[in-house]
Symmetry: C2
Subunit: 203 residues, 2 copies
DNA sequence: TACGCTACCAAGCAAGCGCTTGGTTTGTAA
DNA sequence: TTACAAACCAAGCGCTTGCTTGGTAGCGTA
């Protein structure tokens, strides 16, 4: 037995490889494939190789597992956004980086947990919805700052809020059709969407 | 007792006011508010004022209720699309009409059933998914015909399939933020989205 | 060796679920 | 009045669900 690495974290769906992380990652996949309600605690337990009752040593309720999945993926992707725009001064380049990062989240490495975030939202308790919304607000503020900067620079004529919502629609829906093995790359899709926003395609 | 009207149909969610139609309309609202799985047959029954067992006089299973909701709303909105483009020769005007009709479906009179269509898709049996997909294909073909016509006329540079998917994202996501009582009208949103597609905003 | 902590098992409970059953009411038309 | 089907009720069956309970294995520390 050899210690392969001094950095044992292997990120999947934004979760580490601790028991808790593996549990969340498995839950995220099941929640996306079957939905939260159709996924039983026995399903999750089987996936990680323990008894169903043992899940409740890690989380007080099944709903807390869902909440944890969402919190982790929001946090992880907020950091991804931050990293994407770090050091970029041009607001148009910032926007491109944001779109790319969001696509990466939705159809890339955290796609399962992101899908859960969109489709299982109402399975959260109102209390947890509020807490998750607070985290999401931080994420959205990064977008709004960039879009407002674009507007100030005169490169965005439309309303920033509506623009953000149209972008959200385009990116989030991509999870329903984008084929990772197809000919269209994430970078290409990024530019196509960017084009719909700042309209260089018809200059 | 006076017969108020010779046309007793009052369309809600694309359903008529027969027992079956009222049942479907109530189910659509419950399915949207709580999700299919969290909605019990007792919930639906209570809503229409009958016993839960009596539901199964109308539908063989609970899932068949969901399927019926989806079939009705797809059919209804396919007709709406057809009516919208009828008599319009200019492909750009056709596109505007299509976007407006789809927004009407998603945030207007059939919004509850449309939301169910998007969010409860995987609750259908594979067999029913296939049947619903066949109906949806007809709907989508109307879109593709108009977009291809636009391309032929040289007024759409982007790929028609991708364009359609971006539009789908923008329109379907609007159900999550559009406020029917706000200052933004459906017609205004229609033009904003149309602008993202044929790009007249940066001429 | 003894301790304490984390992680887990084996068994099962109480509640809620979709759906069935056998019988009754209601509306319609001959 | 009779006939009949559609619509509905009252009761509950069999099963699955999230979660609980009481106990145990493994491991690092002293």
């Amino acid at each position: 037995m050899v210690q392969v690495s001094t950095q044992p974290q292997q990120i999947v769906n934004g979760m580490d490889d601790s028991p808790r992380g593996k549990l969340l990652s498995a839950a995220a996949r099941l929640f996306r494939d079957q939905g939260f309600d159709r996924t039983t605690v026995r399903d999750i337990a089987r996936e990680v190789g323990i008894q169903s009752g043992s899940l409740f040593h890690h989380f007080p309720t099944k709903e807390d597992i869902l909440f944890a999945v969402m919190v982790e993926v929001i946090r992880f992707n907020t950091e991804r956004l931050r990293a994407a725009i770090a050091g970029k001064a041009d607001p148009a380049e910032q926007l491109r980086a944001l779109i790319r990062a969001e696509l990466q989240a939705i159809i890339g490495d955290t796609r399962e947990a992101m899908s859960v975030l969109v489709y299982e939202w109402r399975c959260l308790t109102p209390q947890h919805q509020q807490e998750a919304l607070a985290l999401r607000a931080i994420y959205e503020q990064l977008w709004m700052d960039a879009l407002e900067a674009l507007r100030s620079a005169g490169r965005l004529k439309a309303d920033a809020f509506i623009t953000r919502r149209l972008i959200t629609g385009m990116t989030s829906w991509s999870s329903n059709w984008f084929d990772a093995h197809g000919s269209l790359t994430i970078d290409q899709l990024t530019d196509i969407i960017l084009d719909r926003v700042i309209g260089e395609h018809c200059a």
